[in-house]
Structure formats: structure tokens, C-alpha cells
Subunit: 319 residues, 2 copies
């Protein structure tokens, strides 16, 4: 039971509210509660209580929150994971990604930053040859790009042979192949490439196009309240793996994109920017742009338990 | 865009994660965001991020949380407000109630503690005469009680005439009148009483019976994970009002109830306990118990904007 003083203030320095209430709730957990459950729920209870006290949440505001949480689940359906969207808007998916993938060598050398996987990775993407094109269906407004680089060991700087550079991107209409069967054949704008003896990969793709997330439902209501737009910067997804290294999953963004600073999913990091340069020398006359991006991988010895792939997209379906 | 260092640690003392990320997300809010929205959402974002960092939430755990939030809304239906139930279990409804009703005189004198309203208050409860019984349908296992007391000014100690003492309680089967039409007529175990010239009220009611909340759905899953039972201690609801005083809404609990310390809704406070004493002297031979409870009210001058009634039960329907 929470303590209540009768006729005298409790003298708590920090808060005028019962200083024992939060610990009372935490301590309702059974001694048999699994340690990780206890750790997570204790922290959640403490932070939620501190939030209520910090803003002195009114009952009307609390009821708005209760109704909002109910509405999130009410909007859930196949290919629409509303709680996931809300997490993206609040930066939670991006933060959890950082928490799980932040890693550095003893000297503080960091591999290419991880960022959110998104729901559109496919385990069935075919391998292609270096120099091939992933553009199976060229849109009229597409800008064909020669995309190339080296996958290096972050400590030695040496190229890593036989790394897998898996990439996927939306077409210029903002849609991925599986959601756009009228315009795109399966595996359009997707490909896996194996790095050569010097760690090099290369292919043709499109300069990516920015798109907005769906602007209906509770997640969009949240954006409106915050005065935020629904746009993601244009991006190319990559997942780079090698058995001897910790894999990197990231999104790469053109450095001239207007939404870099205000990405609705809060998933842009400085080392993930791309510089698309005009080219007139490419052997393919349709190709007008050149883009080089080098990836840094860190030895698996720094995280022996790292999974090869980040595949939560498969667990929950699309959003 | 969140900053990412390339090849050197950022030197943040407290966290190994990007020390600028949370403020980046907060600052995505537009300058036009309403100040209260900004205050609430900034605090929510900071606390949710701190929670994720404090427990180093894994991606699998985060996805469990995403699915759980979706499931809460999926369980919502008429007379079942799942997000509200989860808030009760986490102590959030009780805390918000304290935040909104904590009040004291300049000398630190406090009125009777507020506690959660619950969903079963009725605006249609009839006035009855002091000395009447609210027991319209006597259950076989009921214990008739002479319930009486004085409503006093917390500063002067004087009885307050013409205060309204509104009470409601479940029957011995744990059900309120509206959900138990086979056994209970409308307004059974409900009544409003006006205090007399000395501030006294009195009526016959039942000694209340403890009951469990529904043990299905996501809220019950949460209880199971925490190793907690679903029981509320027995209680009588009261709502005491007077135009010159700040109203008090509370639940009163028998001091011998087994669930006082572990109330599933975390809503017990020390000054809300009742002492039921055996009696053989009552004028009504069926009456076996006597219970006295005195209420302390605080002058409205300490909270001139206080609403007369706490009626959020009407806003959202039952839970």
C-alpha cells in the first residue's frame, strides 16, 4: 500500500507527491519474476511515473493517452504496423538500432553506422555479377547511376574479398517491387554482389527518390500535433556481410536530399551520405551519375555472438 | 540528422550512445507546436529513450513491445478499455489521480486522500435519507453494516452541513447493479446522503467483498509476467462534495482485507482504511457490523478551479 500522510507534508525534496509510490509498484513484482523482465519493467515503471510527475499529467490528458494507445492497436492490420510507425516517429526504432549495433575497436575505430532495416528487405534477392544492373524496369524519370566502392576492414584498411553487398531500393514512385506489380518485376532494384579480391563491388542502380509515409491513422495524428512532415529522405538500403566480420545494415542517403535533417524516422547518420556526381565517361550511355561508397566492417572478434543478418522484417511483416 | 563519429569515440561520460540523438528527435517538433504538447511529448521522448538506453533494449525485446502495444488496442471493445487496465496495473491511473488531487493547507493539513474513480460511478444515483439502507437486494452472504461518520473541515475540525456523501459498491458477487440485472435492481448499493447540521451522515450498506479483474487479454499477460495476482481489495466508493470545498473521490477498504498491500490497481492509501466492528445493539436486528468513517474536506479557496465532480468514467465508458 502506498503511504499517505495525514495532516503533515512528507518533506520529500524533489517532488510534492508520495516518494514511495513508484517503488511500491515496482516491488509488487513477484520474487519469481525473470530477472530480465524485472529489469525492463522496473525501468519502464520508473520512467513512466517520472514522466507523469514531470509534466504533472492531468486526468484529461491521461485519458487522451489511454485512447491513443487503444487507437494504435485498432489501426494495426496486415502491412500496417501502427506501433512500429509511432516508434519510428519518436526515434525509438533508430535508437534501439544504435543500442544493438554500436561497436568500436579498442582504439575507438567504428565500422559503418547501422541504421534501421525497414520492412522491405527480402531473403530471396538473387546474386548478380559485379557490373550488372539492378534496374530491370527503367522508369521514365529514373537517373541511372554507376554505384561502386570497396568494403574494407576498419582496422587494417584492407579490402575484404567475398563480402556480400546486398542492396534494395524503391523506384521513383516510392514503391518497392512487391508492392508495385504493375510497374516492377520481382527483384527489380534488388541485388546481391560479392566483392572481388580487392573488396570491390559495382553495379548500376537508380539515384533514389524520397517518399512520404502513409498520412492516415494515429501515427499521422502524432506527426500533425508535432508539426512534422511525413517524409523520408531518399535512400538505398544495404546489408553487408562476411563470416569473419560483424554485418552492417544501413540506409545510404544522397547528400543533397532536402529531408536529411528532418527524416520522419530519425534514421540519418553523417557517415551514411552519398555524393552523386554527373558522369559523361560511363560505358553505358544511359548512365548519367557516378556514386562511390566505401563500407567499413569490424572483425567478428569484437562481437562473437553477432547474428549474420538483421532480419526482424521477417518477424512482424511490413509496416 | 544525428551525429555519428567516424573512427573515434565521442567521449560522452554517461552513455556510450550518441549523446545528441534524443535532443535531435525532440527538436524535430515545429516551433508552432502548442506549448503543452511540446512539454508532454518532449518529456515522453526523453523518458522513453532513457528507458531504452538504461536497459539496453534488444531488437527482439523492442518488437515484443511493439506487438504488445498493438495487442492492447486490439483487445479494446465496449466495456473493456485495455490500455486503461494496463495503466492500472502499472500504477499510472493511481499516480495521475494523486498528481491531480494532492492538496494541503498552508500548514500542511491534508484532506482525505483521493484515489481512482473507477468506471462504475453513476450520475443518476438517487438521494436517500440518513438512516436509510442502500441494500435493495440482500445477498445471502451479505453482512449488513451501519455505516456512519462526520464530514469535517480539515482546518477547523467543524462538521460541514449539506455536504453530499455519494457512495456505491459491488455486491458480494463482485458485480455492480448495472452489470448484474438478474440479482440487483437499479441503484442497489448506491445512494447519495446529505450531511445534517453537524456534518453527520449514516446509512446501512454491505461490508464490501474483494474481487478479481478480468484475467484474459494483454493486461492479464502483463500480470502473469510480473507474478502478480488480479485482485482488488474490497472497497466502498465515495464521492463527497460541497460547493465551498474541494470534492474528494476515494475508495474505502476494510482494514482486514488480504489484498491491501498488493492491490492490482495500486490504489490503497493509509487514511482510507475502515474498521468494521461487530455490533449487537443496532436497532435493525439484521445488522451485525458497525463502521465509522470521517471525511476531511479542504476549502475551495485552496483550489478555486477544482471541478465539483471527477467524472472521467463518463468520458470513456467502462473498462
Amino acid at each position: 500500500m502506498a503511504s499517505a500522510t495525514n495532516g503533515s507534508s512528507n518533506g520529500a525534496a524533489k517532488s510534492r507527491f508520495d516518494p514511495h509510490f513508484t517503488e511500491h509498484v515496482v516491488n509488487l513484482m513477484s520474487p519469481d519474476t525473470k530477472p530480465r523482465h524485472r529489469e525492463i519493467l522496473s525501468s519502464l515503471i520508473r520512467h513512466m511515473h517520472d514522466f507523469c510527475r514531470d509534466v504533472e499529467l492531468t486526468q484529461d490528458e491521461w485519458i487522451i493517452g489511454v485512447n491513443y494507445v487503444n487507437a494504435i492497436g485498432g489501426a494495426y492490420k496486415k502491412n500496417r504496423n501502427e506501433a512500429w510507425r509511432v516508434c519510428d516517429i519518436l526515434g525509438i526504432e533508430s535508437l534501439v538500432d544504435e543500442i544493438n549495433h554500436k561497436i568500436a575497436t579498442e582504439e575507438g575505430l567504428e565500422p559503418t553506422s547501422s541504421t534501421i532495416l525497414g520492412p522491405f528487405w527480402s531473403p530471396e534477392t538473387p546474386f548478380r555479377e559485379n557490373g550488372d544492373s539492378v534496374v530491370l524496369n527503367m522508369p521514365a524519370d529514373g537517373q541511372l547511376t554507376w554505384f561502386h566502392g570497396v568494403v574494407r576492414d576498419v582496422e587494417t584498411g584492407q579490402g575484404i574479398p567475398n563480402a556480400v553487398f546486398d542492396m534494395w531500393q524503391a523506384s521513383t514512385n516510392g514503391k518497392y517491387d512487391v508492392f508495385d506489380p504493375e510497374n516492377q518485376t520481382r527483384h527489380n532494384l534488388r541485388g546481391k554482389f560479392k566483392t572481388d579480391a580487392e573488396g570491390r563491388y559495382a553495379f548500376y542502380c537508380l539515384k533514389p527518390t524520397e517518399y512520404a509515409i502513409d498520412t492516415s491513422g494515429p501515427s499521422a495524428d502524432l506527426l500533425r500535433i508535432m508539426g512534422r512532415h511525413p517524409n523520408r529522405p531518399a535512400h538505398i538500403h544495404i546489408m553487408v556481410t562476411h563470416p569473419d566480420y560483424v554485418g552492417v545494415t544501413a540506409q545510404l542517403y544522397p547528400n543533397d536530399d532536402p529531408w536529411l535533417e528532418t527524416d520522419v524516422a530519425c534514421a540519418v547518420k553523417e557517415d551514411l551520405l552519398l555524393n552523386f556526381k554527373p558522369t559523361k565517361e560511363d560505358k553505358n550511355p544511359e548512365c548519367t551519375l557516378d556514386c562511390e561508397y566505401n563500407v567499413r566492417l569490424i572483425s567478428r572478434k569484437y562481437k562473437p555472438d553477432a547474428e549474420m543478418l538483421k532480419t526482424n522484417a521477417n518477424i512482424v511483416g511490413g509496416k
